[in-house]
């Protein structure tokens, strides 16, 4: 592992250096090009002016994402009088684990003016929760690793990774009590766990600051919705909101469908009704109906009003069914063709289907009055001639349930006949929806957990 090697190299250097009184970057230049320094080692580092006058202790590091998302743009130094000085990276002549040396005098330094657009390493990253996109997990940051590089006449720090391992925890504990090279020696004995900076996704609840810091959740959006859901469940409400707001509606809807309904409702209530409506629209109608039922009547009405008419009507229909019946379980997203159609008709219907194709396993046949007439598995369609009438491919016997059948009976039917989907009909035998196996699985698992 490159990172492990680097820190090892850094340690050896420090070991050699501890005899010398000053440990400067210029020296490093001749021995090795890259070395690693940890935020814990920089925290409270004494910083001196050009004439050797003591300025204060390093308080925080700032990155300016609008210029360079990796480079430390400025160093905040707290003077003995508790004033915060801001030293730009050009002014920082050299930096080591022992001290910082600026190329300007105290008079030339300006005081720090709070800037929301700057990323503060200590305040915004250290000890905060971040999303590890690579491992699809939420973790808490123990330390931040920097790559230290001398550039013409000044030193540059670049964020390399965040550290979440035991070694970093130990470093935090020991720093300040034990000499820095001893800390490196001790911590090198423990496993270190780093997350490269490109896989780190910070969480910022304030939407305006998110824009300023150029935080995006594009990398999170690329994850599987179920993984995003797991990440969401780990976060506090404000942080959940931040992530959901940063995702596109479709991904947000898919991820939301995977978290407990109560949490869904909670989240949707915390964001604007407009955004909530956009997300609910993208959810499968049965999920949408479930979550709307959980929302307060006012919010639910508001969201329904903001939704596209067609989607809203589908959801409204589902909302009419009593809880724990086939009607409440079913979705209205399915593929249906006329019973006289042939295989090519079914394929055309599939092509024009707008919902999630992965969830379609069976195509339903209806007569002129939308009365259910048959069910054809997609697999059979795949292997048949284009002109084959669908009726001949239909499964026999055709199993369907009335919408008022209890959910437990539906589960039994799925179990008994090994179904992957089950059509639901009204009293007149009209096809009104389909119960899918994944919803049954969810129901069974939830039941088991509640005991």
């Amino acid at each position: 592992m490159a990172v492990a090697w680097r820190s090892q190299a850094g340690f050896q250097l420090l070991g050699n250096q501890c005899e010398n009184s000053l440990f400067t970057i210029h020296y490093l230049q001749f021995t090795i090009q890259i070395t690693m320094i940890y935020f814990t080692e920089l925290d409270h580092l004494p910083v001196y002016g050009v004439k050797g006058e003591y300025l204060g202790r390093l308080e925080d590091l700032c990155v300016d994402p609008s210029q360079n998302s990796l480079r430390v743009a400025s160093y905040l130094v707290k003077t003995p009088k508790k004033a915060l000085l801001c030293i730009t990276h050009e002014q920082m002549q050299s930096l080591s684990v022992r001290a910082g040396q600026t190329s300007v005098s105290r008079e030339e330094l300006r005081c720090y003016a709070p800037d929301e657009g700057l990323l503060h390493v200590k305040k915004d990253i250290l000890d905060q929760q971040i999303i590890d996109v690579n491992n699809r997990k939420v973790v808490r940051v123990n330390d931040v690793d920097f790559d230290i590089q001398p550039t013409d006449h000044h030193t540059e720090l670049r964020i390399v990774a965040v550290n979440v391992g035991l070694a970093a925890a130990l470093r935090r504990l020991l720093q300040g009590f034990v000499a820095k090279h001893t800390v490196r020696m001790i911590t090198s004995l423990f496993p270190t766990k780093t997350i490269p900076w490109e896989f780190v996704n910070l969480i910022e609840p304030d939407p305006q600051r998110r824009v300023k810091l150029r935080l995006s959740y594009d990398r999170v959006a690329e994850l599987h919705p179920a993984d995003i859901a797991d990440i969401l469940e780990e976060l506090s409400r404000d942080d959940q909101k931040a992530v959901i707001e940063g995702l596109d509606e479709e991904t947000a809807a898919q991820a939301l469908s995977e978290i407990p309904t109560r949490m869904q409702a909670d989240l949707l209530e915390s964001i604007s009704a407009e955004k909530a409506a956009d997300i609910v629209e993208e959810m499968p109608p049965d999920e949408a109906a479930d979550v709307l039922q959980e929302l307060s009547p006012e919010t639910s009405a508001e969201v329904l009003a903001d939704m596209e008419k067609e989607e809203a009507n589908e959801v409204r229909e589902l909302l009419g069914f009593e809880e724990n019946t086939a009607g409440a379980l079913m979705t209205t997203e399915y593929v249906v063709v006329h019973e006289s159609a042939a295989v090519e008709g079914a394929i055309a219907a599939l092509r024009s289907f707008e919902g999630l194709l992965e969830s379609i396993h069976v195509i339903y046949l209806v007569d002129d009055h939308v009365v259910l007439a048959g069910a054809v598995p997609v697999g059979r369609i795949l292997l048949s001639e284009a002109s084959m009438p669908l009726k001949e491919l239909a499964t026999d016997p055709l199993i369907s349930v009335p919408s008022h059948l209890a959910a437990t009976s539906v589960v039994d039917l799925f179990h008994k006949y090994n179904l992957i989907s089950l059509p639901v009909v009204d009293d007149g035998g009209h096809l009104i929806g389909v119960v899918a196996a994944d919803d049954i699985l969810e129901l069974v698992i939830n039941k088991k957990q509640f005991r």
Partner: protein, 421 residues
Amino acid sequence: MNRERLRHFRTRLLIFLAVLGPGIITANVDNDAGGIYTYSVAGAKFGYSLLWTLVPITVALIVVQEMVARMGVVTGKGLADLIREEYGFRTTFILMMLLLGADLGNTIADFAGLASGMSAFGVTRYIAVPLGALLVWALVVKGTYRFVEKVFLAACVFYVAYPVSCFLAHPKWPDAVISTLKPSFQFSAGYFYMLIGVVGTTITPWMQFYLQAAVVEKGIKVKEYIYSRWDVIVGCIITDVVAFFIIVACAATIYVSGNRQINGAGDAALALRPLAGHAASALFAFGLCNASLFSACILPLATAYYVCEGLGMEAGINKRFHEAPTFYWLYTTLIVLGALAVMLLSEAKQIPIILFSQVANGILLPFVLIFMLRLVNRDDLMGKYKNSRLFNNIAWVTCVVMIALTLVLVVSAFFPNKLPA
């Protein structure tokens, strides 16, 4: 119109019942083996005369618990999380280690309480303690949050054993009620020490962590906060009502009998037998077993929970063993150590551990309360839900008094001989 109102009331009641849990459970665990012992001694030694302290104690408990519950609901984060984010890793680590030590001591005290309670039924500790340990371990490792919470709420119901036992002891009700409402003071060191003891067992550091984490895990919404507040208030009142009955039961019997020396919570149950009858005695012992088992489950659970939370490791009952190994190992270790200590060490040898845990609790409480008060007043965290000025003054006064009393308790723990019996 009336029906409309009734339905409205019914929905609100249903929401309350859904939110109910964290506050009531936390407050009830407060009456653990140590608490029951303290109240029994208070009743046995001083009769009804310490009852009045329960009123201010209830108020203090509500003030403190309400703040953490509010923080949990509003921020959606646990107290350990918030402390870590605000005060850094080292502070959090030291706090967590002290809490770990303090809670190990409390766990031992709880298993000792179980042994003591079961011995009143003639069951030896070598059977009662391992069985109890296995039961609480399996409950959490194999159960989910909702299931565990239901069991905990059921355990709360069994505290009714104390009021019933108290009625069987036929106390002088008018005296008891008057003593509760009318403060009185005896100027003796023993009385003062007892008073501090009663106060000291009430507000403990771990409770704050547990309550906030439970509120967060339950996912209570800001809109439902009002119900959560009632959960806390009802819980605190129930707790101190139970304490009231324990004190009254012991005051009506042991104190009146003249032989006022009891050495353990189980002793109180045995002392009740000749004075109030077998039924009262058995109920008292049963209450003790229930409380001990209950706390022996929640304490290690809470400890494992917030230690993992603060140090950034996975935690939660809804996770499986391999998903949150540190959490489950910590939980298991605490229970095993607690149970082993009670089985292998003689009572004299348990005392230094319990003393240490009292001291650790005392050192911790100021930090936890002050961190809490500073966090609950932060604009960026709490927004409009931060303390009002009046509430803040009450909270600071409460916390300062609590801290002062706890420190006195800690210091006096080192000089037991200086105190009159």
